[in-house]
Amino acid sequence: MKAIEPNSSIATPETFPPPSVAVWQHSHVLDLDDFTQEEIELVLETADAMAEVLTREVKRVPTLRGKTVVTMFYEPSTRTRASFELAAKNLSADTVSLDASKSSIVKGESLIDSLRTIQALGADIIVMRHSQSGAPYLATQHVTCSLINAGDGWHAHPSQALLDLYTIRRHLGTLANLKVTIIGDIMHSRVARSNVWGMTTMGARVILCAPPTLLPRGLDSFIANCQLPNVSIETEIEPALKNADVVMPLRLQMERQQSGLLPSLREYIQLYQLTLERLSLAKPHVLVMHPGPINEGIEISPEVAHGAQSVIEEQVTNGVAIRMALLYLIAGGKNK
């Protein structure tokens, strides 16, 4: 190609400068179903800048100095909670963590009262986990501060899905046209649900693979009604794994067997465990991910969980960067 004369371009200068202000409309982060591709990309790019901070000797920037982040967890969690708190501290925010088992909640204080109290104490951002699907949506009607959903019931876990997207993009460059296979207890998985929104928005195909009893009822018609042509269901693991770019087994909760959803644990292991042999059906560059905590030897074999394809630990590290990005994007000036 011939070099173009430097002065021959007549484009108007106003069209050139990249937007210096983020395209971000969210006061809360509740799920990824209302995120556009641009917004998800913004989160991932912001997380990239945050990841640089995490490589420093002193992992702290003054960005959210004077802001208060409160984590309210009505359900047990180690990594998500620690991850949000570290993210807030890395941005110099003050953090308060409320443990439902040790607060006035055991005295019978309602969710709304607790939220109002936290807000009156000066919280700027509330990070909330609750066992009831939709609890954070209810919460946003009663508080003026920002709210991040850290997992509600079976419904959504947006920060986990975003860190999954981020991890995949770091390894494979893009989400577009990838085949992502999610295996296991889809019915009870908020991670799977948020990932369906996030992955399809970014152009990936999602295969949901589970025994029929662990698929949500009416999933077929949901896929049809929501027009999700990139989501499909598979009840056998081998075809689901074939040529997969990403495989994500979900934690099998032991109590599912008692509730009659599984004939036996041994049968589940035989039919659905992610083993090295099964993994060989996937593409050579396949990434093995897991939202944690892992039941080694149940949904995933130890060789796979700690094998060369596994990025499970990296997901945890990336989680801090993603949560820093969310706190940064959501903090501060109210939408007037």
Binding site: P17, P18, W24, M50, P62, L329, G332, N335
Partner: protein, 186 residues
């Protein structure tokens, strides 16, 4: 509203060559110099300065880019957040002569943020400041070590720096008030 050109591509080129010479003169050579461009337009300017210094001194000059968004003093009151770019400085700044490079020097708040950011990355021997345009109106006790051009302005005027790598052309213009341009790069 009229947009008047204050510097042409040739003017910018000459100013940068002079600044490169001044940097070498002040530091008695180019050993231990690290150029750090501030996002967005400081980055290409720092690369051009590095190229000139390298041709003068015949040693490789490390060039990095710095994003100050995380260090701004107004960040928590902004509803729309600036897009953060990755900070990428390829060398440890400790004991180096770090030259910060920016396009427009105005209130000094960006430079304050940049110095804080640099200090978090290490302990430079010195931090110096090179700017293409100094338009005055400082709000902090900060001055530039190397200035491409001093342009006294009133605060309702806007200085726009266009660089080829970002905007497709090199020039510096001044805009009078009420023009719908938005990119105020402090």
């Amino acid at each position: 509203m009229p947009e008047r050109t204050l510097m042409s591509a040739e003017d910018i080129q000459r100013a940068l060559v002079r600044v490169a010479h001044e940097i070498v003169e002040r530091n008695k050579g180019a050993k231990d110099i690290v150029l750090v461009g501030m996002q967005t337009r400081g980055v290409p300017l720092s690369k051009r300065l590095a190229t000139t210094i390298q041709s003068l001194e015949e040693i490789a000059i490390p060039v990095g880019s710095l994003d100050i968004s995380l260090y701004r003093d107004d960040i928590s009151s902004l509803h729309l957040k600036p897009v953060i770019h990755r900070t990428d400085i390829p060398t440890d700044v400790t004991n180096k002569q770090v030259v910060l490079v920016d396009d427009v020097f105005y209130t000094g708040r960006s430079i304050r943020a940049a110095m804080d950011a640099l200090m978090d990355l290490g302990r430079p021997q010195s931090i110096q400041l090179a700017v293409l345009i100094d338009r005055g109106h400082r709000e902090l006790p900060i001055r530039a070590d190397y200035v491409g051009k001093n342009i006294p302005t009133s605060s309702n005027e806007e200085i726009k720096v266009y660089v080829k790598e970002v905007d497709g052309e090199d020039k510096v213009t001044i805009l009078l008030p009420n023009k719908g341009a938005t990119d105020e790069s402090d």
